[in-house]
């Protein structure tokens, strides 16, 4: 509950940028630099939104997502997947795994802000409208 | 690439090679016989007994003659046997 965002991203500079953007908007950003233990952290923290990178050391983003979805506590948490791969296949895989939104790197700062706000607002109703303007 | 060939022509060479191997196997037996043959002859010139005795020089000529002959035959066989080294062995 509240205005917490769990950010799982191993690139330090990208994480710093996202933290800056979201913090300025009043979010509390908790950052993890690797995939190991990320799903458990999500269950402890129960953030409003999870921002998850696809390629992570330790465990891949898709694995973490699948783990979260299989846990009752975190099954409904809104998740934004970040990916640096442009292929449609990657996007399909992310959607199949249950990602609510999909942002391709590089993204506009406004996009990530909009997605986080939207997902946090629509959280009670479960799934938001898929696709949407935010998706590149 | 192995494909069927005319059997009559094909069989000749391997057949020759096998007989050559037979000959090579027999050669030492034959040579052994020739080397041991003098055992059966009358003893060479016994001291004192002149009549009918063989001469030592003819023994020498005999042995070296047989020996050289065996070397020559063996040398004639060798090339034919060496080329069949890598082919299937034993009949």
């Amino acid at each position: 509950m509240g205005r917490e965002v769990l950010l799982i991203e191993d690139e330090e500079n990208i994480a710093e940028a996202i933290r800056f953007i979201l913090t300025r908007d009043g979010w509390q950003v908790v950052h993890l630099a690797e995939g190991r233990g990320a799903a458990r952290r999500a269950a402890e923290l129960m953030p409003a939104v999870v921002i998850l990178d696809t390629m992570l050391p330790g465990a891949s983003g898709l694995e973490i997502l699948a783990e979260m979805r299989s846990n009752l506590l975190t099954a409904h948490l809104p998740v934004v997947m970040l990916t640096a791969k442009s292929q449609p296949r990657d996007r399909e895989a992310a959607e199949r795994a249950g990602a609510d939104r999909f942002l391709a790197k590089p993204f506009a700062n406004a996009d990530i802000l909009a997605v986080v706000r939207e997902l946090a607002a629509g959280r009670k109703t479960g799934l938001g409208p898929s696709g949407g303007a935010a998706v590149a | 690439m192995r494909r069927p060939r005319r059997p009559l022509f094909l069989a000749r060479l391997p057949y020759r090679r096998r007989r050559l191997r037979d000959a090579a196997r027999l050669l030492p037996v034959f040579g052994g016989f020739l080397f041991i043959l003098p055992v059966l002859w009358a003893p060479a010139a016994e001291p004192g007994a002149e009549a009918g005795a063989r001469l030592l020089s003819s023994d020498v000529v005999y042995f070296f003659g047989v020996w050289a002959g065996l070397v020559a035959v063996s040398a004639a066989f060798a090339p034919g046997l060496a080329t069949t080294q890598d082919e299937e062995e034993e009949d």
């Binding site: 191993d10 690139e11 500079n13 990208i14 940028a17 800056f20 953007i21 390629m55 050391p57 640096a84 791969k85 442009s86 292929q87 990657d90 391709a104 790197k105 590089p106 993204f107 506009a108 700062n109 | 192995r2 090579a24 196997r25 050669l27 030492p28 037996v29 040579g31 052994g32 080397f35 041991i36 003098p38 055992v39 003893p43 060479a44 010139a45 016994e46 001291p47 001469l55 030592l56 020089s57 020498v60 000529v61 042995f63 070296f64 020996w67 065996l70 070397v71 020559a72 035959v73 063996s74 040398a75 066989f77 060798a78 090339p79 046997l81 060496a82 080294q85 299937e88 062995e89 034993e90």
Partner: protein
């Protein structure tokens, strides 16, 4: 003739042989064999059958016993012209199973039993040590002929100089390399030279005698008939028995086995030797009778007929000829002693010293530098064999006992005959049978021939000789079982071989062989059937290839082992890794290679330590049996067609797999590039947007600007690498070839990579002397490779005190450079992929760099005409770079 001149000539001759051996070793080392491996050299090396006993002794033998001396050469003649029977099989088995000695052959045939190896070794040592003493004695005697009272040398002193000199020569050239299969080119060639010298010398003396003294062939024949030699009568028993004995000895003598089987470079040479060797011994014996006849005619009665070859020319005032004859005799003696010492020392070290050492320290198989141990064991054995020969000479020196020792030694080694010939022709022969036969034959030989040869009351008391032990007459040494009145030599040969063969056969029939024995038996007897030569002895995959490599390196040496493993890995279709899979075939190959160095029994024991026991079960045997039965059912045609089909299918499958792999690789590559480009761009875009908003405190602006700058640099670097790689991969790179110093390049690379983790103190271990060579190559590119390798080592070596070793050596026209750190190394499953683009190790995470470094290294080395590979088993991460010394542009871009 002045005695000093003789010593000088002798020394000059030895120095000459040294040079020959040394020059040949160098040639062989450089891989230029040429005539070194010709049938001629092989045949000439076989001539060590003719020792000083032939050179001097045959004339004496002829003077005493007429034509009987011929038997010693007729037997080998029959064996060689009948090579298709036995020799061909022996040589094939020797090569296929990498046999190191006759003891190794017998031990290997009977289930790799080291006990048999020990017995054969001891028998060989006992039987041939007196023979070595005989050679020493002949050299001493021949010196004695020249020396006169004024400057005569002490005989014992001569002997010790000769024995010591031979030991040094043998140790220098006999123990350079370990693998008995691939060595001794120097010695074998020196032996071949000596063979020519002794033949020329004997022929020269003979020609001088026939045409110079006797007056032509006709006159010579008349003189032969007139001489006392014609009083000779043929004794049928001795005649036949000696032909048989010499035929057996030519196969069983350790030195003959050494040159005939172990040093054989090509089976085809045997075909030439089959007639050329009989021709050689014929030439050697051609003038024996004339020399004996004329010697008896012209020399005073008290002259020793054993020295006629020397004394006759001296007596006639032909000093030069006498000198030649002396060198011929010297050659005969030295060549025999050298090869005998090598053969015996291989047996002693492989079957007694090394197994004993391994038994004392079982963990040594993997823990110590066995190579040094084995080489030292061999050196020690050579010295010991020489010392024993000398000791025997001192004990019995000059006694009449030595004169007959040649035939006694023949009879001793002939005891190997049943086990050896039975072993390679009869699958039913068992270890127990071989052991029983060998022991009984040996004991009988010693009791009936060897010990009595010392004379009454020397070892066996006169009363024992005359009446038998405890008065049991049928056990009299020279009249066993009541067979009295036989020639003692023939009596001993008859009984020893008779009892030996009987025991071998009967015990073999009664006992049951172990699975390993049966496998080895089948492999030896059916050596000509393709496929069954290397039976499966090991079950799959229990050994770690890396451990096997470590062990192989300790025995074969680093380079040999790595070359073997690499070629095996290539054979398994692995192009990047140096480690082959531990398939049963590979382990068998490895075992055979090791057997070539330390003998079959030891190699087997060492491998089973790692693989976990000899994994031969009765089930395996059944599988093998049904396999061969199946093979027999199919006609050769069907078999060939099936193989052809399988090959085609295999080729198609391979192509298909390759295409699929390529397509997958291309997708993965594009996706990777996209990822690598987008990651820095994300940061740049995000921070530039933040900056564009414009209401930031100045320190934030500065920080964001720096991040943007960093990421831009990263992007540029990535693009540079990619471009580089694409140019290199397409082979369109222009190389600027110069002659550059390797040390300078490495210096520069070390300096350039200091910026990677500058806080770490890294110690470099280099060989600056060796690095100081000039390569014709593209220096900048090569330096880049070193920078990448050294930076990687700095980055990922997690040792507390990091250390980077750079080893260097030359092979052929190439230089091999190993860059090795002392970290944890690269995990086995990752070794095969590290040279692929964008490969990073799991724990490496998102460290700097896109994982292109090693891919670029590989492309550069290939463009420079070399190869790069991961070198496992070195402790840390290790990379091996092989580069041509002189890159010529024609070959550029074609890779290794």
């Amino acid at each position: 003739m002045p005695f000093n001149l003789l010593v000088l000539a002798c020394l000059a001759y030895v120095v000459f042989l040294f040079c020959v051996a040394f020059w040949v070793e160098r040639r062989a080392y450089a891989g230029r064999f040429g005539w070194l491996r010709s049938p001629l050299v092989y045949t000439l090396s076989l001539s060590i059958y003719c020792t000083a006993w032939t050179f001097y002794g045959a004339v004496g033998y002829a003077a005493r016993s007429g034509m009987e001396f011929l038997t010693i050469y007729l037997g080998p003649t029959l064996v060689f012209i009948g090579w298709w029977w036995v020799l061909r099989k022996l040589v094939r088995i020797g090569r296929k199973h990498r046999v190191t000695s006759i003891a190794d052959l017998i031990s290997s045939r009977f289930g790799k039993s080291n006990a048999l190896g020990v017995v054969v070794t001891l028998m060989a040592v006992v039987a041939t040590t007196p023979y070595i003493a005989l050679q020493l004695q002949s050299v001493v005697l021949s010196f004695g002929v020249f020396s006169n009272a004024a400057d005569s040398l002490d005989a014992g002193q001569t002997a010790i100089w000769v024995a010591g000199g031979l030991a040094v020569f043998t140790i220098i050239f006999g123990t350079r390399n370990l693998d008995a299969q691939e060595q001794h080119h120097g010695i074998v060639t020196a032996i071949a030279v000596e063979a020519v010298v002794k033949l020329v010398a004997l022929l020269a003396v003979g020609i001088f005698v026939v045409w110079g003294l006797a007056g032509g062939v006709g006159a010579m024949l008349d003189r032969i008939d007139a001489s006392e030699l014609s009083a000779w009568t043929m004794q049928p028993g001795r005649w036949t028995g000696l032909i048989f004995l010499s035929a057996a000895a030519v196969i069983c003598l350790p030195r003959m086995f050494q040159v005939m089987v172990v040093e054989n470079a090509d089976e085809g040479h045997l075909a030439t030797a089959s007639w050329a060797f009989p021709a050689y011994v014929l030439a050697m014996s051609l003038f024996i009778v004339p020399i004996a006849v004329i010697g008896l005619e012209r020399l005073p009665d008290h002259a020793n007929p054993d020295m006629f070859v020397l004394t006759l020319p001296l007596h006639e005032g032909q000093n030069a000829l006498a000198m030649l004859a002396f060198l011929g005799g010297f050659s005969s003696a030295t060549s025999m002693v050298i090869i005998e010492a090598i053969a015996l020392s291989t047996m002693v070290s492989n079957h007694i010293l090394v197994p004993g050492w391994l038994r004392l320290r079982p963990q040594a198989a993997v823990a110590d530098d066995l190579r040094g141990v084995v080489l030292n064991a061999r050196r020690l054995s050579i010295a010991a064999v020489m010392a024993m020969g000398y000791g025997y000479y001192q004990l019995s020196g000059g006694s009449a006992a030595l004169a007959s020792i040649g035939l006694i030694a023949f009879a001793g080694v002939a005891q190997f005959l049943p086990a050896m010939v039975g072993g390679i022709f009869w699958r039913g022969a068992t270890k127990a049978g071989a052991m029983a036969g060998l022991l009984i034959g040996f004991v009988t030989w010693a009791y009936a021939l060897f010990l009595p040869s010392f004379g009454p009351d020397a070892v066996l008391s006169a009363s024992l000789l005359a009446e038998g032990p405890w008065g049991v007459t049928w056990l009299r040494p020279q009249a066993l079982f009541g067979v009295a009145g036989m020639d003692p030599l023939i009596h001993a040969i008859f009984w020893s071989l008779m009892l030996n063969g009987t025991a071998f056969f009967v015990i073999s029939v009664l006992t049951f062989p172990s699975p390993v024995e049966r496998l080895q038996g089948a492999a030896f007897v059916n050596v000509f059937d393709e496929g069954s030569g290397a039976p499966r002895r090991w079950s799959r995959g229990e050994a770690e290839p890396e451990e096997l490599l470590v062990m192989a390196q300790r025995i074969l040496g680093d380079e040999e082992a790595q070359v073997l493993f690499e070629s095996e890995a290539r054979g398994q279709g692995k192009t990047q890794s140096l480690l082959p899979d531990p398939t049963p075939e590979f382990i068998s190959t490895l075992e055979q290679r090791l057997a070539g160095s330390v003998g079959a029994a030891t190699a087997h024991a060492m491998i089973s330590q790692l693989v976990g026991g000899a994994a031969v079960s009765v089930g395996d045997l059944m599988a093998l049996a049904s396999e061969s039965a199946e093979r027999a059912e199919h006609s050769a045609q069907l078999e060939a067609q099936r193989a052809e089909l399988a090959r085609t299918a295999g080729a198609l499958r391979e192509v298909n797999e390759k295409l699929t792999r390529l397509s997958v690789q291309k997708d993965a590559f594009l996706s990777q590039i996209s990822h690598e480009l987008r990651t820095p761009m994300t940061s740049i875009r995000a921070f530039s947007e933040i900056l564009a908003e414009g209401d930031l405190p100045p320190e934030m602006v500065a920080r964001n600007g720096r991040i943007i700058h960093e990421e831009t640099k990263r992007l540029t670097r990535l693009l540079d690498d990619l471009l580089d790689l694409s140019v290199l991969e397409n082979g369109k790179v222009t190389l600027s070839l110069t002659l550059s110093n390797l040390r300078d390049m490495i210096d520069r690379a070390i300096q350039a990579s200091e910026q990677v983790k500058p806080e770490r103190e890294v110690v470099f271990r280099r060989d600056l002397m060796r690095e100081n060579i000039f390569l014709r190559t593209d220096a900048d590119r090569l330096t880049q490779v070193f920078i990448n390798l050294i930076s990687n080592a700095r980055k990922y070596c997690e040792a507390e005190f990091p250390e980077i070793r750079i080893n260097l050596r030359m092979r052929g026209g190439r230089v091999i450079i190993d860059v090795i750190d002392n970290g944890r190394g690269i995990p086995k499953d990752a070794q095969s992929t590290i040279f692929e683009k964008f490969t990073r190790l799991p724990e490496e995470g998102r460290a700097k760099g896109a994982g292109l470094g090693l891919a670029i290294c590989r492309e550069i080395t290939e463009n420079l005409g070399g190869t790069i590979a991961y070198l496992p088993g070195q402790g840390g991460a290790a990379f091996r770079l092989i580069l041509p010394l002189r890159l010529d542009l024609g070959a550029q871009g074609q890779g290794g």
